[in-house]
Symmetry: C2
Subunit: 304 residues, 2 copies
DNA sequence: TATGCTATTCCTGAAAATGGAATAAATGGG
DNA sequence: CCCATTTATTCCATTTTCAGGAATAGCATA
């Protein structure tokens, strides 16, 4: 048996055409198909829709009534595909996730022109420093530093993210600026807690060397707070470029151990791969891609 | 790609269930099917309906909106099959065709009790002495004397229809009652015109013998008029039993040549075979079948 | 850390739909 | 008056599609 949808659709065409042959040509199918569909529908309904003879067909009184309802239901159903497919301009929700530090600094200025150009776009920002999937479930676009392992995301590296060991000039004046990794151990240091597992991130250096401070002067789980502490002269910290850059430029922070710098990480933009990408998401995605890639657009610089 | 109907139906279930697995069990299909349907629908729409990861799904804002419309369209569509299938009591049109002579005499009295019992039944009587298909196109039940050749009808013989050669007593008193077929030629006779081809029906006799009157006293195309003419003493006529019977009984007509009587024809009831038979048509069909078959129900007799 | 569960992809056997050829009957023209 | 043409229909073989089992990936929970 054919599926009900097609049965009804064929019936409606036949009712309008007045002949099975005409209906067949209109639908681009064979006349047998029309016969079959109508027969199936009649069996399903327990009522005849057409009176027939070998030469012509003529719609039943019942069929005429039925055609009205069928046409209406069919139209209703088709709007599910038509009116929803045509997006009436770019509008709707776009869920974006990013680490707090990046989101606060860059997302708003980057998105502002887009919001002005497309007032019906609704941005839903979920600033999280970790990739928690429960939250990401409502995410259309994500920004992360590091590697996107999940292959169900399509990810793209936008910019390198160097890490600097920094402190404020006054602290450096008090202590001896370190020349080697060993010298670090004697200085007040900060460590960042990985929210995922509650463990401290090790400091990273060239050639894959890592260093775990024994007695850190500061432990916290927020990079921005870590930055504040270094600015306040509390400690030395290993800070990503996008946080340190403006302060290095203004002289509020000074970088040390530059020749032990680790290989920079990457800033990634990503989005769920499965399913199609709507116009509005594509728009925001491309815009952010360009904004984060183009050094001229970074008011405060982002590495390199 | 699946058909749209199923796609939307599966999506609605998934939206309500909140999990593809649950949706699959509710629908009695496999989880793969749910995945496939949702993916197809998303491709069709150009929008994601669910945010997913390997472990769970979560409906999109767009998906939530869409589910409302989809559910509504689905319900609308399903009423096409539900509300139309359940016949709210026996009601609606029943098209019946019969020869004039039979229709006038029997159909109304036979149908009267049915009309009283089912006030919503609408009888559409089309009295025609020939099987013209253009008219029959709107016929649910037919009554005919003779053979139903068309195999797309299901026909059933109800009663034999003998033919009598009759005249009124006064005419028989004037002329010599015929003892053989040859004697007929000298008498005033009537012939009936076959409306189908405009030709006279030959008189029929035993062993397949036929007789075509050369100079008929009356030519007409209506059996009832032919009967009137014989009652008025205008001519001898070969009249079917259901017309002649009451007058034979009352003595207004007398039968002759009884030993040359042809094999009786049959009274048939028939209905279109294709498509299902609705309850109301079945009811009327069965009722008429019984009414025409049961001799006790014939107030005026119908042969044998 | 290990186990279980869920979504997903791939693949193969099974089911269904599709259209060609043939049949039946009615219409229209020579 | 008969024959060719047209239309609905049935039968059948081919092709397409569908459906679920097995396997994979990744998240969640104990």
């Amino acid at each position: 048996m054919l599926n009900r949808m097609e049965m009804v659709r064929i019936f409606c065409t036949a009712a309008e055409a007045g002949s099975f042959r005409e209906a067949a040509t209109r639908l681009g199918i064979s006349p047998q198909g029309v016969t079959r569909a109508i027969q199936a529908l009649e069996t399903e309904l327990g009522e005849s829709l057409f009176h027939r003879n070998t030469r012509q067909v003529s719609i039943t009184a019942f069929g005429q009534d039925y055609a009205k309802d069928a046409r209406s239901a069919l139209d209703h159903f088709d709007t599910l595909f038509r009116s929803h497919r045509t997006e009436p301009e770019l509008s709707g929700r776009v869920g974006i996730t990013a680490p707090h530090a990046i989101g606060r600094r860059f997302l708003i200025p980057f998105l502002q022109p887009l919001a002005a150009a497309h007032p019906d776009l609704q941005f839903d920002l979920r600033l999280e420093d970790q990739m928690t999937d429960a939250v990401e479930a409502h995410i259309d676009i994500g920004i992360r530093v590091g590697v996107i392992r999940d292959r169900r995301y399509v990810a793209r590296a936008l910019a390198p993210v160097p890490f600097y060991v920094v402190a404020c000039p006054s602290l450096i004046g008090q202590k001896t600026p370190p020349e080697s990794l060993d010298a670090l151990a004697k200085l007040p240091l900060s460590v960042l807690i990985d929210r995922k597992n509650g463990r401290p991130w090790p400091w990273l250096f060239a050639d894959g060397q890592t260093f775990a401070p024994r007695q850190p002067a500061l432990i916290c789980d927020d990079p921005d707070t870590e930055l504040e502490a270094t600015l306040a002269g509390m400690c030395f910290g290993q800070i990503p470029a996008y946080l340190a850059e403006p302060h290095l430029r203004s002289g509020k922070l000074v970088a040390v151990l530059a020749d032990h710098a680790p290989a920079p990480w990457d800033l990634f933009i990503y989005r769920p791969q499965q399913g199609p990408v709507s116009k509005r998401v594509r728009l925001v995605y491309d815009h952010l891609k360009q904004a984060f890639s183009n050094p001229k657009l970074f008011p405060q610089g982002l590495g390199t």
